[in-house]
């Protein structure tokens, strides 16, 4: 804004009135409902929204890759480097994909041919052997020559993602689409990949659409943020300004629910919106109205237009001047219920050893990998311990051993009173039997108690109320419920007969921020009010710190650090813990690791969006 008003660069991508309808089982639904948007060369814009917001559909539409079986109906205009995409012939689209738009996918393994060496695949996309090595080196891969000769399965997830970034950037595209490129990666790798993407985008003046559900990741990377809800643009603005002062209740809700290492752990997380319902209303009203805490009569009668304010922010909300009050309300989130703890151990793991792989045969040496090496861990009654580690650290194996699902090779597991614990699984939908009503599945926990059917019904209703689900839903099948409701049902099944110990296996890792916050609140409240001990397995240090009294850090099967939650975060002892803590993205946006290049003036970008 300090610059004089110069002629703005022509946008490389310009979307006007984009509507997309997709069909499933013969029913068409509107996935994108009037998107207007511009992207300037070299600009990084984050598309933020929860699943179902349409953020991935934008990326697919740009590439002309909407699934044909969904019979996509596209209207509006997408101009990419001056060429119209809507209505383009397949041949033209292929051309565009080759030269103008490239994408970095979510799952790097799925995008590489498992039968071809990395070098051969890169050469197939038109690079010479020297260029291959040069690009591999530029993406920070050590020893490019060795990588080029390797097959994809020999690389780590982060290395594969670097290869794909090299493949995309080497084509010198005008627009790069990165659809959640780091969700499949460990936190320590995430930060490096984000830095690499941003570096390359700036160096080559490539406009980047960064699709994510995580506002903190967006904050680290993007010049501007576009918040999508239900196929419409809720808010567009400069990253820092938007995060400092959101103007749409949905952005405010995302921000309030977002937690990091600085969140207040003495009280529950602030959640503004209620859970997303299955039916998404679209029509002449604000489509956030069913969840919005600020909704007025007006909101359900007219559709709010995306209005441009003085400061360049664009918001689609009638009540945006009341959003600051809303944020103040969040700070008064309720505190946790009174907890009770006792000296007795709810779980005791003693020198647990576990290896996988073929045992020694008559003619074959043992080829076993040790997954857990001498783990000692005790959880007192009423206490919550978070077990933190990256993929492959053995944390899930330890949980399965603690649950009695897996026998350790060596060592002992003992539960208080010999009562087996209950488990909350990572994928709640998969943990419910699809052909039984959720009420029946909860009832199966009550059967051994010898209660009358009437008493069972009463207990089921109580458990459902406790987790915040309408008891009438006990007659629903899991497929009729949302993911969040399914997670609450599995919790209800676990606590309908209060267990002494609850084991949670990454219960929030697949969730959107608002849902994750609600689940953490639920589990944190329940374990305190019921006096349950809890083992909370996660790769998310911020979640671990919020939920747990103590944090145990697992690195390659060894417990490297166990301590009070705040202490582990603020003064980590083990080098591995230090690395994990340093890699957690924060909203503040003051990331030294991303300040290695001069920040470029991008203030004119909002002027383009009008």
């Amino acid at each position: 804004m300090t610059l004089p008003a110069t002629e703005p660069e022509a946008p490389v991508l310009s979307i006007r009135g984009l509507h997309v309808r997709l069909s499933r089982d013969g029913r068409a639904s509107t996935v994108l409902d009037g998107i207007d948007f511009d992207l300037a060369p070299g600009e990084v814009v984050a598309l933020v929204g929860e699943s179902g917001s349409g953020k991935s559909t934008i990326g697919l539409t740009l590439q002309g890759l909407l699934p044909a079986e969904a019979q996509p109906e596209i209207s509006g205009s997408i101009r990419l480097a001056g060429r119209e995409i809507v209505g383009a012939r397949p041949r033209e689209l292929r051309d565009l994909r080759l030269s103008l738009v490239r994408a970095v996918p979510q799952d790097p393994m799925g995008a590489l041919n498992p039968t071809m060496s990395i070098g051969a695949q890169l050469r197939e996309s038109g690079l010479s052997a020297d260029e291959v090595l040069e690009w591999l080196a530029r993406t920070g891969l050590p020893n490019p020559r060795r990588i080029a000769a390797d097959m994809p399965h020999r690389l780590s997830g982060g290395q594969r993602q670097r290869v794909l970034i090299a493949m995309s950037m080497a084509a010198k595209p005008r627009v790069l689409i990165a659809d959640e490129p780091t969700t499949a990666l460990d936190v320590t790798v995430q930060a490096q990949i984000l830095t690499l993407l941003r570096d390359l985008a700036r160096e080559h003046n490539t406009a980047t659409l960064f699709i994510t559900h995580d506002l903190a990741v967006a904050a680290e990377l993007a010049d501007r943020v576009m918040v999508l809800y239900g196929g419409r643009v809720a808010e567009v603005g400069h990253t820092r300004a938007l995060i400092a002062a959101p103007s749409h209740p949905y952005s405010a809700g995302l921000l309030a629910a977002r937690f990091d290492l600085d969140s207040d752990r003495s009280r529950q997380l602030g959640t503004l919106a209620s859970e997303q319902l299955r039916a998404r209303p679209s029509g002449a009203h604000c489509n956030y109205v069913t969840r919005c805490p600020l909704a007025e009569a007006e909101c359900s009668e007219r559709k709010p237009d995306l209005v441009r304010r003085q400061d360049g922010r664009q918001v689609a909300c009638f009540q945006s001047n009341r959003v600051p009050d809303l944020l103040a309300r969040v700070r008064e989130a309720p505190s946790w219920p009174e907890a009770s703890a006792s000296e007795a151990n709810a779980l005791e793991l003693y020198r647990i050893e576990k290896s996988f792989g073929p045992k020694r045969g008559i003619l074959r040496p043992a080829r076993q990998t040790q997954v857990l090496a001498g783990i000692d861990l005790r959880i007192q009654q009423g206490e919550c311990v978070a077990l933190v580690g990256e993929s492959g650290s053995g944390k899930s194996t330890l949980l399965r051993i603690a649950a009695g699902l897996l026998a350790p090779d060596e060592g002992d597991v003992s539960w208080f009173g010999g009562i087996p614990p209950q488990v909350v699984f990572q994928d709640a939908v998969a943990a419910l039997t699809p052909w039984l009503t959720v009420g029946e599945q909860i009832r199966d926990r009550l059967r051994p108690l010898g209660l009358s059917r009437h008493e069972q019904d009463k207990k089921i209703a109580e458990a459902l109320k406790l987790v915040g689900v309408d008891p009438a839903l006990q007659h629903a099948l899991p497929s009729e419920l949302s993911g969040g409701q399914c997670q609450r049902i599995t919790v209800a099944r676990a606590v309908v007969v209060p267990p002494k110990l609850l084991l949670c296996d990454e219960p929030i890792s697949a969730m959107d921020v608002s849902l994750a916050a609600q689940t953490l609140n639920l589990l944190g409240s329940l374990r305190r009010s019921m006096g349950m001990a809890m083992l909370f397995v996660t790769h998310d240090l911020a979640a671990a710190r919020l939920i747990a009294d103590r944090i145990a850090v697992l690195e390659k099967g060894h417990l490297v650090e166990v301590g009070e939650a705040d202490q582990v975060i603020s003064a980590p002892q083990a080098p591995y813990t230090k690395m994990l803590v340093g890699a957690v993205p924060r909203l503040g946006g003051s990331q030294e690791k991303l300040q290695t290049f001069p920040p470029r003036e991008r203030d004119q970008s909002d002027a383009l969006a009008s």
Partner: protein
């Protein structure tokens, strides 16, 4: 406040959503199977002539009075084919049903119990699978004597192991899924685990396989009848009718061709219906 969040009821999927997943060819198959079953049950009550008696001159070609013509002793071929559908279709369904029952019980039991019981039952199943099926069926019929019931027994003997193996594999697969693990942790065990948590998961695969097998059973039944080991002579079984008149193919073409065509159409429709059931169950 998460705990106070009362969630409203979900929108139920529309009725007949499963039908949308079924292609139009497959719908024809499903409708056709339904019609064939009706014809097999009720058709013989409404046929224009007694299928067992001489009603006209022999070897009349198809015309308005005798739609499919008459056979070598002047019986109405249309009436005989309708009765033949009953004698072919209903035993086919019965064989499938019995084989499915035996196979599922053994397979689910083996899959759930595992260990040496599973190993033993698997070897028994394999023993049946490696036997040359048609030969064994012929041997059984030869030993027990020709007749519909004996033919059905013979076919069932080598048909159930396929379902046993499939049910067993399905149960092993489902057993490893998180929802069964979750049910075990919740304290479900024994017959309840088997009948309510494991068996329903195996049903779709078995249902599809069984429907697709209807065509195979019809063909096998017809082959055995064709070889003269099915129903004894006067009864109009479609395979037997084709077999007896195949010599007159060049002269009285309708005698072998029409029953053979009916077998062909039934097999195709049953196959399409099997595909239809697979499509319908896919999204469920």
């Amino acid at each position: 406040m998460a705990l106070a969040t009362e969630l409203s009821a979900p929108t139920a999927p529309p009725a007949f959503a499963w039908l949308r997943r079924v292609g139009w060819l497959e719908r024809i198959g499903l409708a056709g199977v339904f019609v064939i079953t009706l014809v097999a049950i009720f058709g013989p009550f409404f046929v224009p002539y007694d299928p067992m008696l001489r009603v006209a001159a022999a070897y009349l070609p198809p015309d308005a009075a005798h739609w499919f013509g008459t056979d070598e002793i002047g019986r109405d071929l249309f009436s005989r084919v309708v009765l033949g559908v009953r004698y072919t279709w209903l035993p086919g369904l019965a064989v499938i049903g019995i084989a499915l029952l035996i196979g599922t019980v053994i397979g689910v039991f083996a899959g759930m119990v595992g260990g040496w019981v599973d190993a033993l039952l698997q070897r028994v199943v394999e023993l049946f699978l490696v036997l040359p099926s048609t030969l064994i069926a012929l041997a059984v019929v030869a030993a027990l004597g020709p007749g519909l019931i004996n033919t059905m027994i013979a076919i069932t003997i080598f048909w159930w192991p396929w379902y046993a193996r499939m049910a067993r594999d399905e149960v092993r697969r489902i057993r490893a899924r998180p929802h069964v693990e979750a049910a075990r942790i919740a304290g479900v065990k024994g017959s309840r685990l088997m009948l309510r948590y494991l068996l329903p998961g195996a049903v779709p695969a078995l249902a599809v396989a069984a429907t697709l097998d209807v065509a195979n059973i019809i063909l096998t039944l017809s082959v055995i009848s064709f070889l003269g080991l099915g129903l004894p002579a006067p009864a109009p079984e479609l395979g037997a009718m084709t077999s007896r008149s195949v010599d007159s193919l060049t002269v009285y073409w309708w005698l072998p061709i029409i029953p053979a065509l009916v077998i062909f159409v039934m097999s195709i429709l049953a196959n399409l219906a099997g595909d239809g059931i697979r499509s319908a169950l896919r999204g469920a």
